[in-house]
Subunit: 343 residues, 2 copies
DNA sequence: CCCTCGAATGTGAGCGCTAACACTCGTACT
DNA sequence: AGTACGAGTGTTAGCGCTCACATTCGAGGG
């Protein structure tokens, strides 16, 4: 009695290229050619193969393909603070752009920024054989760690980026802050206060710098400065302090969420916005127009950024020499929360 | 002259198990055993292998492993509307819980809900050889499509779930709405208006039902009902209409973002919150406490949900027969926007 | 009619891993 | 002393694909 071939216990195996080949009466290589859209296949052969594929419900085994080609078609992304508007928008945008470019995107969201967690995330991505890594973490330390990692694959930065930096794409935070502050100065304010983000975030320092420079350009002295942590709570606290100092007529808040807190605090201090105090935010979150009052803010094109980042990544994978950072320009959106100073 | 072995042009190959084995003076299988933590390896052998791994910077080739084991260690997730608080929180939570459980998570965010886009997403996930799929799309149609797909792998639902449903986990929306509405009725309101989410979202209908039932339980007639689309803009519009009808003293809004719009509209109509009108939201977004006034809302434990969903998925992968839906209970968070009716 | 050449297809090896089984010991039992 | 056994290790055969090369086939030129 002939011995049964050793079958893997349980489930019936998925059809393989060989199965398709047999059914179509061709070799497995021809099936491979069809799948890879080689022009060297006669039309009627191709049709028979395609039919066989459909009939068997064949699906190419990507693991085998990866093994043979030594490519994964996958890029990794590490992000953090996904509860915040910007980071989450960027993550979504990169993911989408990656798919559009034909890559699978593996995302890892850091719960905590530390050298260890970052290394761990990168490690997990390397385990997945990603061909490149997009780092969307704006924290100062994170960027240093990443820069010092010297990975065997391209690494692209998309947050906390400065002009000219290699392998990086970003939105020009400095320009955005300049826009916001100049808008207030143009309205006639002699000085603008600032509620910044946490200053270990590169973007927070860049926005802060833009705010200062706007004053410098006009030989004006910047108003008081309070460091927040992006949260509405910190904005509220900052707003309370601002509400108590009568000489502040304008505030540039580094994001809309903090601005929400600032608005609330100003209301509670009995200061009207924009009659007594003008407030400008940053991010243009979808709710910004429904703050009380609707808030003037700075809009960033995140989806463009995602596309840009993926573009850069793909170029790097194709051997292009480290292209320098491209910075997108944000835009000011004027709403009801900014007006000329009282009197 | 002996012929050179055919080397792949370009980059030096990554070290393989064979390289490690050679360096450690063992067979590749022993290396495999060490990597898989087999107890059948003597301690000093293991140490030599570990040392060799470190020295060579060896990293196991997952493609080869997948090919040999016919397992991917990857689960897929399809989500949608990631700009909204709930969906984005759930996506993050599932991702995190998946990692904790030792799985890689491939997420696809739908840009548009349609049978085609859903099929496409599932297709892409199957191409990645995911072992199971978590569907986090609360849209009615999406759920129908998914249910009708009959995939060869487990599918777990985490939104738009009803009690008792197999392979599903969720948060009890009906109970949350009941909580919110009863809170208002307890305060003495005779009837509560409702700004619902779009009614093709299961969760919107569930919240609406909870609101109705709360009235039914007390033989009261529910107040007027307006359908929104989760956005602050739609909330604003609804709020404007509510602000014009003097008999409404309480509103249950189906999410906090719309509630923000409602608040703004009520302010503009000159109706004070909570003195004239009480407002209760849903979601407890981080900004909720900084609305003007801070809003009473319903809190959902998304991270628990993520863990629950992954747990379910893993159980299904281990052959457990389709366990029924578990619903988590949301909690009411009382803040300043709800108070007894005027008089 | 043979030869050439390019288009179309087939063949075989090998990617790096795991599973199954074969083997070699030393130890414990008869 | 011989046998049995299990711990520790090695050997071999795939997993399903792509690559490089071999082969076949038909059309066109001498």
């Amino acid at each position: 009695m002939p011995q049964q071939p050793p079958l893997r216990a349980g489930a019936a195996r998925n059809p393989s290229m060989a199965d398709v080949a047999q059914r179509a009466g061709v070799s497995h290589q021809t099936v491979s050619r069809v799948l890879n859209e080689s022009p060297l296949v006669k039309d009627d052969t191709r049709e028979r193969v395609v039919a066989a594929i459909r009939e068997l419900g064949y699906r190419r085994n990507n693991a085998a393909r990866m093994l043979a080609t030594n490519r994964s078609g996958r890029i990794g992304m590490v992000s953090a603070h996904l509860a915040l508007h910007g980071p989450s928008m960027i993550a979504t945008a990169v993911q989408g752009a990656g798919h559009e470019a034909g890559y699978q995107v593996s995302a890892i969201g850091l719960l905590e920024i530390s050298e260890e967690s970052l290394r761990d995330a990168v490690d997990r991505l390397l385990d997945q054989a990603v061909e490149a890594i997009v780092v969307a973490v704006a924290h100062r330390d994170a960027i240093h760690v990443v820069r010092g990692l010297s990975l065997p694959i391209p690494v692209v930065l998309v947050q906390g980026v400065t002009a000219g930096e290699p392998m990086a794409a970003g939105i020009d935070q400095h320009a955005g802050a300049l826009l916001a502050t100049e808008h207030l100065l143009d309205l006639g304010h002699r000085s603008v206060a600032h509620v910044s983000g946490p200053l270990d975030w590169i973007e927070a320092t860049q926005r802060r710098l833009g705010w200062r420079h706007a004053h410098d350009h006009r030989d004006l002295l910047p108003g008081p400065e309070i460091e927040g942590d992006w949260s509405a709570a910190s904005g509220y606290e900052a707003g309370t302090r601002i509400g108590h100092s009568d000489d502040v007529t304008a505030v540039f808040v580094a994001n809309d969420t903090m601005a929400l807190g600032v608005l609330k605090a100003l209301h509670e201090c009995g200061r009207r916005v924009p009659e007594d105090v003008s407030v400008v935010g940053f991010d243009n979150i979808p709710e910004a127009a429904y703050f009380w009052p609707a808030i003037t803010t700075v809009d960033q094109q995140f989806s463009d950024l995602g596309r840009l980042a993926v573009d850069l990544t793909v170029r790097a994978l194709e051997g292009d020499e480290a292209p320098a950072a491209t910075l997108l320009r944000p835009e000011l959106v004027v709403r009801a929360s900014s007006a000329p100073p009282p009197e």
